[in-house]
Amino acid sequence: MTNGTGGDVRLTGIGKTYGSFTAVHPLDLTVPQGSFFALLGASGCGKTTTLRMIAGLEEPTRGTVHLGDQDVTRLPPYKRPVNTVFQSYALFPHLDIFENVAFGLRRRGIKSVRKQVEEMLDLVQLGEQARKRPHQLSGGQQQRVALARALINHPQVLLLDEPLGALDLKLRRQMQWELKRIQTEVGITFVHVTHDQEEAMTMADQVAVMNAGRVEQLGTPADLYENPRTTFVANFLGTSNFIEAGIEGASGPDVVLRAGDGRLVLPRERCRTPATPGAKVLAGIRPEKISLTHADDADSVPEGRNRITGTIADAAFTGVSTQYVVDSPVCQEFAVYVQNVDRDPRLVPGARVVLHWNPAHTFGLDAAQDAAAGVEEAA
C-alpha cells in the first residue's frame, strides 16, 4: 500500500519559539522510512509542536523539514503528503462516517471513492457504521474513523497526536496492538506523540524522549530502558533507584564505587561520567533487577553481587509481583519488585533485608543532575 518513492522524515535544526518562550530547541531528528517512531514526553515538552511542524500546522522558527529528498518546510499542510490523527480525533460533525473518510480523496479530485472508502472502513472494522454521524459512535470507534480518514490517503508519513489519550485503559491496550498491526500491514511511517511511556515502548521501534523542548535520548525501547543516559529518562521510563556514590577507582572493566559502608561495582562502559577517583556518580538500578534476601540468610547471597542492607518499609502485593519499599542508609525508598514465585513469609514491613543484584545491571549517571528528574512527569 505504500508508495515506495517515500523516504525518511528528516528534521534539521528545527526549532520553534513563541515570543520569548522556546517550545522546541533546535533539534535534528531522522525518522527512518516505514518505522514506528514515538515522541515521548510530559505535556509541554515540545513533542506536539514538533509533530505539528512536520504536519505543516506550525511554522518552524528555524530549521528545515524534509520528506525524502523534498524540502517541505514552506509547504502548507494541504500540500504535504502527510496526514494526522488528531488528539480527540477532530472528526467533522456535519458529515457521516463515509464522508469523513472520503474527505481527503474528494479534495484531491478523486471521483469514484466508494470502493476505497469501503475497503478502508473494513480495515478498521467499521463497515456497518458508514452512514452514522461521528457523535453516534463510541470513543474507540471514533478513533478508528480518524485513523481510516488519514490512512486512506496513503500518506508518506502518518502523524498521531496522543491518539489513544481519550480511551479507557483496556481499550487503549487493544488499540495499541491494533495500531501496530495496521502499521505493519500498510508499511507507512508512523510518528506517534504520547506522554504514556508504556504506550511508546509497546508500539514504537524507536523512541525519542523529549524534555523541556529538547530530545533527551533517542533509541529503541529496550536500549532506553536498559541504558538511560539521564536521570530524566531513567525515571520517566519505568522506575529507577539511585544511590549517590563516590568513585574509588577502576578495576579491569569495572568501576568500583563506595556508598556508605558498602562497595558497589559498575561496568565501565555503562558509566556516563569519567571514572576519576573521588568524583561522585549516581548508581542506578531498576527495581525488578534486585533480589531480596532476609538478613538471617545474608550468607547465602553469592559472592560478586552488589549488595546493600535495609529495612522493608512497605510491601504491596499486585498479583504478578510484590512491590517493596526498602529504607536503606544509602538510599531512602528503594523500590524492589519481586516476582511471586517463592514468597518468603518473613519479608514483611520491619524485616531487615539484603538487596543484591548482578553488577552488570548497574548504570552510572552524572551526579550533577537531579536524581528525581522526571519522576513527577511520569506519574
Partner: protein
C-alpha cells in the same frame, strides 16, 4: 382525594398547557376574527361568519403594497445583516486586532439601547446628511439594528467550534477556500440561520425605527398602526393568520426533514 392525586401527577402537563394557551390565545383571536363580518369600521365584536376577507385579502387600499414593501425590506435587511454580521462574528471570534474589545462591546449597544433613542438619532443623522427618507433609509436602519443579533448568534457558534476541525480539513488536502466552504461554513450554518431568522422577524415587524426613518413610505406595521386609528379592516387578521400558518408550516417541515434524516441514518 383522587382528584388531588391526579392533579399532582399531571401538574407539569397542566402548567405547560396553560402556558401554551397563554402564548397562543392572541393568535386564536386573530384567526377567529379573520372570519368575522363586522358592522362598522372596527373588527372588535363578533358578528357573523364570513370568508369575504380571505377571498379578497388585498381588498383594502395600500395593504398589499405595504406588505410587499415590508417583505422586500425584510429580505434585503436579512441578507445585508447576515452577510455583514457573519463577517464581523468571524473577525471577532478568530482574530486579535487592536479595537477588538471596543468592537465587541459596541456591537451589543443597539440591542441594549432603547429603540426610540436610536430612531431619533438616526433621523437626525439622515436629515443632516440630506438623505431622502424612504426605502433606502429604512433598509440602512434595519441592517444596523439586526446586525448585533446576527453577530451574537454566529459568534457563539464560531467560538464553540473546535479549531482542530479546520486544521484537520487542511491536513486532508483542503485549501483555505475549500476548508471554509466544506467545514467552517456548514458547521457555522445553524448559527448563521438563527441570526438570519431573527433578523427577518425583527426587520419585518419593526415599527418605531421604521416610523422615524420612513418619510412618506408605509410599511406593513405602519399600515396596521395607521388603520387602527380609523378602523381595522378584517384583511389585517387574514394577513396575520396567514403568516402564522406559514411560520408553523415551516417549523413542521423542518421537523419532518430533521426526523427523516436521523431515521435514515439509524
Amino acid at each position: 382525594m383522587a382528584f388531588v392525586t391526579w392533579f399532582k401527577r399531571n401538574l407539569v402537563v397542566i402548567a405547560g398547557l396553560l402556558t401554551l394557551a397563554y402564548l397562543l390565545l392572541p393568535n386564536v383571536v386573530v384567526t377567529v376574527f379573520s372570519f368575522n363580518k363586522p358592522v362598522g369600521r372596527f373588527n372588535y365584536a363578533w358578528q357573523e361568519f364570513s370568508a369575504d376577507a380571505w377571498t379578497d385579502p388585498c381588498g383594502v387600499a395600500d395593504l398589499c403594497g405595504s406588505l410587499a414593501l415590508s417583505l422586500q425590506l425584510a429580505c434585503w435587511a436579512t441578507l445585508g445583516a447576515t452577510a455583514l454580521g457573519t463577517a464581523i462574528a468571524f473577525a471577532l471570534a478568530r482574530y486579535r486586532f487592536r479595537a477588538r474589545g471596543a468592537v465587541n462591546a459596541l456591537i451589543f449597544l443597539p440591542m441594549a439601547m432603547p429603540e426610540v433613542v436610536m430612531a431619533a438619532s438616526l433621523l437626525t443623522l439622515f436629515l443632516n446628511l440630506g438623505a431622502q427618507l424612504g426605502f433606502w433609509t429604512i433598509l440602512i436602519a434595519h441592517i444596523m439594528f439586526c446586525l448585533s443579533f446576527v453577530v451574537t448568534a454566529v459568534k457563539a457558534r464560531v467560538m464553540s467550534m473546535d479549531p482542530r476541525l479546520e486544521q484537520a480539513a487542511q491536513d486532508l488536502y483542503a485549501g483555505p477556500f475549500q476548508t471554509f466552504l466544506r467545514v467552517t461554513l456548514p458547521i457555522a450554518a445553524p448559527g448563521i440561520a438563527a441570526g438570519a431568522l431573527l433578523a427577518f422577524a425583527l426587520s419585518f415587524d419593526d415599527f418605531i425605527i421604521t416610523n422615524f426613518t420612513a418619510g412618506s413610505t408605509v410599511t406593513f406595521p405602519m399600515f396596521v398602526w395607521g388603520s387602527a386609528q380609523r378602523g381595522t379592516p378584517v384583511q389585517i387578521n387574514v394577513i396575520g393568520t396567514a403568516m402564522f400558518v406559514v411560520a408553523v408550516l415551516l417549523v413542521l417541515l423542518s421537523m419532518v426533514i430533521g426526523s427523516r434524516r436521523t431515521k435514515s441514518r439509524a
